[in-house]
């Protein structure tokens, strides 16, 4: 009997190999899936924590003992002992406010923070030594420069002591052991960055002077801090609920010890991690269920095809009186052997594949993944065996005549019809839930897309045969026998509907997955493009906005690769502002109409006309001027220019001025190639400002050797000058004195105003044109914004937008060049950026550096995309596509199994038809058209069902876990469905074609010069 089995397997090796391959693929995929799911769940937790800002990973506890508290001898250790959960990095510190006394020759002090932070010296670049003695301190470099001290110098720090008599200052002499800069201000070690101050060119906070721990005993009003930063790797395996609970208990304990605690950011982070994990479990879980369903279906179809091939064996055994059970056993083993072998062989392959794709799994989750893989493969194998036994049991009940029948026997499948009705009812229920509940849906509703696909394909499989029967009749009436035969084959051949349904569902699943993936990708790309602004956003150091603008234009003279940008954060009730070089807006990634219309239109709004500049090209500037002060103080005129090429400022001071005009000159070699006249400031002889009533007349500003200026530029025309535009600026009175320009210092009559003795060339429109989004300027007061660091300037809302690149729903955009001319005296260096386009040449950063900018950090669009791609919903979307692709591979196997079993019978029929008069062309249409038509119909129906399911899937889309919803989800588009349809048609068509070609080759073999045997087809039949 075993010889019979072996011979049967060899004889039907095609079917056996297909069954083996499908079982292997199913085993591999189902063994890999749990590993991937568990790994993705772990990774998403870690990734979420890693991309969180340091304050979001922080539990901060602060204790400020008053007189009733006893400060322990070792406060650091005592605080740490109170609460340090596993998986958190603990940094204990102490800080107090104090004053750094300036040198005795100087008057005054600078407010500082004196702080101890354990391990701080490892995070500092020190010139000198780490402070270790109580009387040693470390100063930030900027502060050290400001007070002109260095390592080894003696200074004094003043703090306040409280005693019975009150509060009294105490000056403590200390030695500067070192001058520091921080290695990486973004290091989570710095927690909420409260100690990063003036030394880092950041906000003008208090500078921090670091000391050794014992030094803090000298200070009163010390705040002890305990910063706990979560290690992202903890969130690979940590149970978020339990972590929340432990944190809550620990923080309660700290509160009982009078600590002020803050962990709002961490709680929000844990909530996000929890949601991301749920998204992974949901997305991958649904994918695994689909995978199980597809593998089961594929196995059932293939097993049934195998059973059909072997049922004649049972018939012959029974016909010859052999025990039915033995024959049954023989055919059963023919299926069980490849099925079991394939599934078992797939398990190790799947576990290896899971490790390769998913990576390492931390903790005990690996065991769980392996166990789950075993369960899934076991369940699938059991399902396949069940289908096989059920198919073979049917042979026991079949009469021998049917068993010997060539091909499948048509039967009414009431059980299948019932199952299909139940499926449609489930789909309706799931869609109803999805519509009602939306993205918060769970349970059955999560399967709504898959159930929708299956239900639509099943319904199509009910309708299509009726249509095909009608088509058969119509084709015959119309004299088209080939079409009639194709339609009849599709409508009536047993097994075709099964293959069609599975093919339709697989195509639908892949379509849904790819459409969902596409929607996800585009939504993420839209968000990333909006948040990033450009392909790369490079933070740079520049002297000022003019320097930034000139340097970028120098590095990219064509204006296609880089754009200078100054980003100002929200201040008060004013929105954040982007000052951009609007001639280069095309570098913005993914320009959207919501940004204020077309790029050119927005640029025209921001920059209504070219600036009307006054340019001097001279190595010696000449000024004809006069001046007089009521207090007889000598007056000077300080002329500010900027090199046109580099944007470098050039200062020339003329004076002392006499009451009658005289000519003054100053060397300005920087202006040989051209300087733009910026402004004039009235200065007095001493450090005091010029007195009220003082005036300066400018009769002429020109080059000593040559002068060039724009046609309309007349440096002495009062209309060409304006004072500073800040709301509190009180500038000189500008008037004409004959042909001269007169600047008169006003009376400082209001405390609300402050004197600004500068006047500027009015070479930019005022108010400044601005495009705003989500900001409503005051209806009464003059609208003002602060496009650069400095006082707000008057603006004219020229257009509104829905969104501003990088800023989102609320913000404003102005032209950087105009803004800089409105605020030429800007000194702040924050927010300087260069936006670089994706088409920029690789050396653009080097060229920016060569132009005088210092690159601080680079933020890329792909960084944003990478962070978004690590989200749980993205993981689920990718897995769904993989499941769909596996489904197509399974379907190829099913199609091959079907064709190998079915096609020989059909070819015999068609050969007979050929003898009856069917032409070669008609025969080929019938021969190939049937399977291709089935594949084509399945692809079309599957694509439509997949699109419908994708629309249902959009109802369930979880969105971004941080609640970001500035842009709506990208709409479903048909392109992915077309790609799937074309690919599926090509792959399945190729599979069908390969079977046909093999059969034709086999049929024609030996027919050259006559058939090889009496049973073989003749050349004429084979044609």
């Amino acid at each position: 009997m075993w010889d019979v089995i072996r011979s049967a397997l060899v004889a039907r090796r095609g079917q056996a190999l297909i069954l083996l391959a499908i079982a292997w693929l199913a085993g591999t995929a189902l063994a890999a899936a749990p590993w991937y799911a568990v790994s993705a769940r772990q990774q998403v937790g870690v990734a979420t924590a890693e991309r969180a800002a340091a304050p979001e990973r922080l539990v901060s506890a602060a204790w400020r003992p008053d007189s009733s508290h006893q400060v322990p001898d070792a406060p650091v250790e005592a605080i740490r002992d109170l609460f340090t959960p596993a998986g958190f990095t603990s940094v204990v510190g102490a800080k107090a406010e104090a004053e750094l006394l300036l040198r005795p020759t100087e008057d005054g002090s600078i407010s500082i923070t004196v702080a101890f932070r354990e391990g701080v010296c490892g995070r500092l670049v020190l010139i000198g030594e780490c402070a270790s003695a109580p009387d040693e301190v470390m100063l930030p470099a900027a502060l050290a420069d400001e007070v002109d001290v260095g390592s080894g110098d003696e200074i004094a720090i003043e703090h306040f002591e409280r005693d019975a008599s009150g509060v009294r200052p105490v000056a403590v002499p200390v030695t500067v052991s070192g001058v520091y800069a921080t290695v990486d201000p973004r290091d989570p070690y710095w927690a909420d960055a409260a100690l990063l101050g003036a030394g880092e060119n950041r906000e003008p906070d208090r500078a921090t002077v670091f000391v050794a721990a014992p030094a803090m005993r000298d200070y009163q009003d010390v705040t002890y801090t305990h910063d706990l930063t979560i290690d992202p790797s903890l969130l690979a395996t940590a149970d978020v609920d339990r972590l929340n609970s432990d944190l809550g208990a620990g923080l309660d304990e700290l509160r009982r010890h009078d600590f002020e605690v803050g962990a709002a950011g961490l709680y929000a982070l844990l909530e996000r991690v929890d949601r991301e994990r749920r998204n992974v479990v949901t997305g991958v879980g649904v994918g695994v269920l689909l995978l199980v369903g597809l593998t089961w279906s594929a196995l059932v179809v293939v097993v049934r095809e195998a059973a059909l091939q072997t049922q004649a064996d049972v018939g012959w055994w029974r016909l010859h009186g052999a025990p039915a059970g033995r024959g049954w056993f023989v055919v059963l083993v023919q299926g069980v052997a490849p099925l079991t072998a394939g599934a078992v062989a797939g398990v190790p392959c799947g576990l290896i594949l899971g490790r390769v794709l998913g990576g390492r799994i931390d903790g005990d989750d690996g065991r769980m993944a392996t166990l789950l893989a075993m369960v899934l493969v076991g369940a699938t194998l059991a399902g396949g065996l069940f289908a096989m036994v059920a198919a073979q049991l049917r042979t026991l009940r079949m009469p021998v005549r049917d068993l010997l029948h060539q091909g499948a026997v048509r039967r009414r499948r009431w059980l299948r019809s019932m199952a299909e009705i139940v499926l449609i009812a489930l789909a309706a229920g799931a869609v109803g839930q999805a519509v009602t509940v939306g993205s918060d849906a769970h349970g059955l509703a999560l399967l709504a897309p898959a159930l929708t696909s299956a239900a639509l394909v099943v319904m199509a499989s009910w309708i299509i045969p009726r249509v095909l029967r009608w088509l058969t009749s119509r084709a015959l009436r119309g004299g088209r026998p080939a079409l009639a035969l194709v339609a009849a084959n599709l409508a009536r051949l047993p097994g075709t509907r099964r293959v069609f349904t599975l093919a339709g569902v697989v195509v639908a699943v892949l379509t849904t997955a790819l459409v969902g993936y596409d929607v996800n990708e585009r939504t993420e790309a839209d968000r990333a493009a909006l948040e990033a602004g450009a392909d790369r956003v490079v933070s740079v150091l520049a002297d000022d906005p003019a320097h930034l603008l000139s340097a970028v234009r120098m590095a990219d003279p064509d204006g296609t690769s880089a754009m200078a940008v100054v980003e100002q954060p929200t201040t008060g009730d004013m929105p954040p502002v982007l000052a951009v070089d609007s001639t280069r807006l095309a570098v913005v990634t993914g320009w959207r109409a919501e940004y204020g219309g077309a790029v050119d239109e927005l640029a025209a709004v921001l920059r209504p006309q070219e600036p009307d500049v006054t340019v001097l090209r001279t190595e010696r500037i000449r000024v004809d001027a006069a001046g007089r002060s009521p207090s007889r103080t000598a007056l000077y005129a300080s002329v500010t220019l900027r090199e046109q090429e580099s944007g470098e400022p050039v200062q020339a001071v003329f004076g002392p001025l006499r009451q009658t005009p005289e000519t003054y000159t100053a060397g300005t070699p920087e202006c040989a190639s051209g300087c733009r006249l910026v402004g004039v400031e009235v200065l007095a002889d001493d450090s005091e400002p010029p007195p009220s009533g003082a005036w300066v007349e400018i009769h002429r500003v020109s080059g000593g050797d040559q002068q060039q200026s724009s046609a309309s530029a007349s440096p002495t025309d009062p209309a060409r000058w304006r004072p500073a535009l800040g709301p509190r600026d009180l500038g000189p009175l500008i008037s004409a004195a004959g042909p001269a320009l007169r600047l008169r210092i006003p009376d400082a009559s209001s405390a609300a105003l402050s004197r600004n003795d500068q006047v500027f060339v009015a070479d930019a429109p005022a108010p400044l044109p601005v495009v705003t989004a989500g900001w409503h300027p005051p209806s009464v007061a003059e609208p003002r914004l602060a496009p650069l660091s400095g006082p707000p300037v008057p603006v004219r809302p020229a257009a509104t937008a829905s969104l501003i690149p990088r800023l989102g729903e609320t913000g404003a955009v102005v032209d950087l060049e105009y803004a800089e001319r409105q605020q030429p005296a800007t000194v702040g260096q924050g927010g300087f950026q260069v936006w670089v386009s994706s088409s920029a040449h690789p050396a653009i950063l080097e060229e920016l550096e060569a132009a005088g900018l210092t690159v601080l950090e680079e933020e890329t669009l792909s960084d944003h995309l990478g962070r978004l791609a690590a989200s749980g919903s993205a993981v689920g979307a990718r897995f769904a596509v993989v499941v769909g692709i596996i489904g197509v591979v399974l379907l190829v196997g099913v199609l091959l199994a079907y064709a190998i079993r079915e096609r020989p019978f059909r070819r015999a029929e068609w050969a007979a038809l050929r003898i009856q008069g069917l032409s070669v062309k008609q025969r080929r249409v019938v021969e190939h058209g049937g399977l291709f038509a089935a594949v084509g119909a399945a692809v079309v129906v599957g694509s439509v069902a997949g699109l419908a399911a994708a629309a249902v899937g959009q109802l369930l889309r979880p969105g971004f876990v941080d609640g970001w919803s500035v842009l709506s989800t990208s709409p479903v588009r048909p392109i992915p469905a077309l790609i799937v349809a074309a690919t599926a048609a090509a792959v399945l068509g190729a599979a069908a074609w390969s079977v046909d070609v093999a059969l034709v080759r086999r049929t024609r073999a030996g027919s050259v010069g006559g058939p090889a045997s009496p049973g073989a087809a003749t050349p004429w039949e084979a044609a």
Binding site: R410, L485, Q916, G917, V920, P1014
Partner: protein, 228 residues
């Protein structure tokens, strides 16, 4: 209307020993020839050679004076073969099987429908006309195949073991139908094991080991004339 002549025909499959050797027979119009012999004697091979489906190694087969081999790319209706295995499309109904073949042979759809219904009625299958082939019994399938062949109105009708699954009444009906075909002017060649059916024919050619032996007449035209 139609005649077929086989002259010293030798047919072999590949390079093997010939299945038919030196067979000669002429069947004029209006006559029925029975081809008998044991299984494997070469009956089907002879009919396929007569249909122009097999190339002669030696000798010739001519239909109305024209060589049968190679068969015309489109066979037309001159030589009709009713195969042993019926050659029906299981996905089509009885009437569709006939319609499709008739239409493929350039008969207009309306006429094809009329002929199909006529021949099904003639062979007693009116009630089964709309049943798909796999739902028909073996005998019904065989009669459907005969109806399809006869509906083509060929000048030569080659029927290969088409009586094997028929009951006596059906067999008689089919033989009468073949006689009517002969009377119409067709040459009918019937391969059969059935002695009664052979006796019904005008002449009988018995094949033994690939060679022909006339039973009731000469293998030549003269013999056929004598029988008639």
């Amino acid at each position: 209307m139609g005649s077929i002549s086989v002259d010293r025909l030798t047919v072999a499959y590949g390079n093997a020993v010939p299945v038919l050797r030196d067979v000669s027979v002429d069947v004029p119009e209006g006559r029925i020839l029975a081809v008998t012999g044991w299984s494997g004697a070469g009956k089907t091979t002879l009919l396929r050679a007569m249909a122009g489906l097999l190339p002669p190694r030696e000798g010739t087969v001519t239909v109305d004076g024209a060589p049968a081999w190679p068969r015309q790319r489109r066979p037309g209706r001159s030589v009709v073969i009713i195969p042993q295995d019926n050659g029906l499309l299981t996905a089509l109904t009885a009437v569709e099987n006939i319609e499709a073949v008739l239409i493929a042979n350039q008969i207009r759809p309306g006429e094809a429908r009329r002929l199909a219904l006529h021949w099904l009625e003639r062979l007693g299958l009116s009630a089964q006309r709309d049943q798909v082939v796999e739902e028909l019994s073996g005998g019904q399938q065989q009669r459907t195949a005969i109806a399809r062949g006869l509906a083509l109105q060929g000048s030569v009708v080659l029927a290969d073991e088409v009586l094997s699954e028929l009951d006596a009444a059906s067999r008689g009906m089919v033989l009468e139908t073949f006689r009517e075909e002969a009377n119409r002017g067709a040459a009918v060649i019937l391969a059969t094991h059935d002695a009664e059916a052979a006796a019904f024919c005008d002449a009988e050619l018995q094949l033994t080991g690939g060679t022909a032996r006339p039973r009731r007449s000469s293998t030549r035209l003269i013999g056929m004339e004598m029988v008639s």
